[in-house]
Symmetry: C2
Subunit: 218 residues, 2 copies
């Protein structure tokens, strides 16, 4: 996992100059403030609209001050995705990690995902669904970075679904890739419908769909 | 249904000046060419990027020539959505309309939708899924126009699902709104995954998911 927002205490390479503690932590705080604003802006306006100028205006910094933190627009966009994943891990992945493995873990991940939509952690819904839709037709570093997130998200589910199947909690005849397709479809649709209509009924429907598909009482 | 692209032969209001046939059909051809380019561009770059300038450059017209057809960017965007719905109706809705009512009609609509993704009728996938994602956080005329499309699309399914339920082809205990949620989720997910990864396996998975959910053999 790459988390630029957690770069506060990197291992110092041998021979590297050590910045003063004050400078480093001030710089980190500023960087974090910039990236938090950027993750929110990206789900409303798009990663592509994440101009250093617009962001500077939003957080009341000079453009040159922002350039000191991010050398290019793409660097800023990639750091924003890293920051969004760190937030996603904190509010969705980590709380679900305490659930028992197998079906309970799948339900916990799904519910935490739906909960982060309802709480509007990102104002436009799922940061990664927004970003995927935006970069789908643009091969490059951003799309690759989103694909890495997708692979990690999928693995979290598929590993638990396979474990549940080995335990006999999911029928041996079930195609786990197909099951994953359907479960993730409910979650993406909940994002899209909630972001468009702000109707929390769709979140409940997604939770029911996941449970129904897994044969768990709703 | 509003189809600006079919405005070739409107009923002439009493007392209105009749333009010469040549002028009118030349103007219509140009308008159609502009809007076809616009529907394609919109799924790759976004409705918001649909600037009169960029479009003029793409189809080799002057900006002032385009302004003669569309007075503002929003007019151009709305006309583009109308044109996209006309194309969608032609390639998805109309072919499915020959199916028998009920479950066969639902399968025909789903398959025609998946087929139009595979055929890349719009290069970015489903025009309306792209447009929804883009305008979700921007209330206004464009979002209202997309909502109208959504309502028509949903009604096509829900009407057939209710008919199938009345016939006894769908269990009386089934919540049709929930069923619609799940079916449309598979279709949206197919769009998103195919647009992102260009892997037609996801189209087959969506077709299987629809059939499995309706209890129809795949």
């Amino acid at each position: 996992m790459t988390m630029s927002t957690e770069a506060a205490s990197p291992a110092t390479p041998p021979g590297a100059a050590t910045p003063s503690r004050k400078t480093r932590s001030d710089g980190d705080r500023t960087r974090r403030a910039i990236l938090e604003a950027a993750t929110r802006l990206a789900t409303l306006e798009g990663l592509d609209r994440l101009s250093i100028g617009e962001l500077a205006a939003q957080i009341g910094m000079s453009k040159s001050g922002l350039y000191a933190h991010f050398g290019s627009k793409e660097e800023l966009q990639l750091a924003t995705i890293d920051a969004a994943e760190a937030i996603f891990d904190e509010v969705v992945v980590a709380p679900a990690a305490t659930a028992k493995p197998g079906i309970p873990a799948v339900l916990a991940l799904s519910d935490a995902f739906l909960g982060h939509l309802e709480a509007r952690v990102f104002p436009g819904g799922c940061f990664f669904a927004c970003a995927s839709a935006e970069v789908q037709a643009r091969p490059g570093a951003l799309k690759d970075r989103i694909s890495e997130f997708d692979a990690r998200w999928k693995a979290r589910f598929v590993d638990q679904l396979r474990y549940a199947q080995q335990r006999g909690d999911i029928s041996a005849s079930e195609d786990i890739e197909q099951l994953w397709f359907e479960l993730d479809a409910y979650l993406l649709y909940a994002h899209a419908a909630f972001a468009f209509r702000a109707d929390s009924e769709v979140l409940a429907r997604a939770g029911s769909a996941v449970r129904h598909r897994l044969g768990v009482p709703t």
